[in-house]
Symmetry: C2
Subunit: 185 residues, 2 copies
């Protein structure tokens, strides 16, 4: 999406900022490419050339919004760290804003690059939690992809397809099951 | 989405058929509400009143396409039945058409009803497989929601967000892990 080069980066920053401002001021339904272009000080054709259409632009903005802005908390042990991270992940992704960003990220994304970036953000957070456990000398913890399959995937699947019964307690059970499975408990 | 009443059902059938025909003839990019209305023999306002916009109509059509048209095969045992069903589920949902229908189903679906229907179809298929095992007197099989969390969810999450490495072998591992977990193996 972002092309190399200073001007390209400035255009992206100003267009993304214009989307965020206009969304806050007028709501997403009011967004149009000409409106965003005017606020960003670029021509509509600049936006069409670069993003194709409004949906692809909103998808790029959504992925930026879904990027974690903090590292997972260090609570001194894998179970506590992974549980706290997963509970926060559920809170953020299942919020009204989180669901809207997830939909945008998936929808204006024909090549799947933005959806992949969302998943990469979660995987990087899980890696941080597991690396910390490794550094502490903890053992018997699951592989990152096992956490993706059995903690991240069920949370995301239920947010998108099956929201009934989503709760912090549900997430704690997923984490406990993933950890117990990896230790053969 | 379908309202009760004979005329309503006829309108839905003719509009859905028009979408399928026009998509096959001209491709989805060519679809417009006036084009679909003309083919279906209804007014555009009938479609706008009932579906809101093209995206919601495409979402309804996609859910119809995602409805399983066969029962899971009976191969004589839970492991074989669940493995075969999960492999077929992966094939169908990860196909080019399947991915397009999944995107459509999620997209034009502000209230989440269509996404919920997709998940309900999968849950009903899993129930059939588990009920059959129960009738055979098999024991130690997982609850339906455990299959949703640890087989269906990882497959759908990876199709949407993380497609690398999706394979029948991956699905077989998910099924084996879910079954072994439930029998404490």
């Amino acid at each position: 999406m972002a092309r190399p080069g200073g001007r390209s980066a400035r255009v992206q920053a100003s267009v993304h900022a214009a989307v965020r401002e206009l969304e806050a001021e007028r709501g997403r339904e009011a967004l149009t490419v000409p409106l965003v272009a005017a606020r960003a000080g670029v021509t509509p054709s600049t936006i069409y050339r670069r993003w194709g259409d409004l949906q692809e632009l909103l998808s790029d903005v959504a992925v930026e919004r879904l990027r974690p802005d903090t590292e997972p908390a260090d609570l001194g042990g894998l179970r506590a760290d992974l549980t706290a991270w997963a509970e926060q992940f559920l809170d953020e992704m299942s919020s009204t804003a989180g669901r809207a960003y997830l939909r945008d990220a998936l929808l204006g994304d024909p090549d799947g690059g933005n959806a992949g970036q969302c998943s990469a953000y979660a995987a990087a957070q899980v890696d941080l939690v597991l690396d910390r456990a490794r550094e502490r000398g903890e053992s018997g913890f699951p592989a990152r992809e096992a956490v993706m399959d059995h903690v991240v995937a069920p949370v995301m699947y239920r947010i998108l397809f099956r929201p009934d019964g989503l709760s912090a307690e549900y997430v704690r059970r997923l984490v406990a099951s993933a950890l117990d499975r990896s230790t053969g408990r």
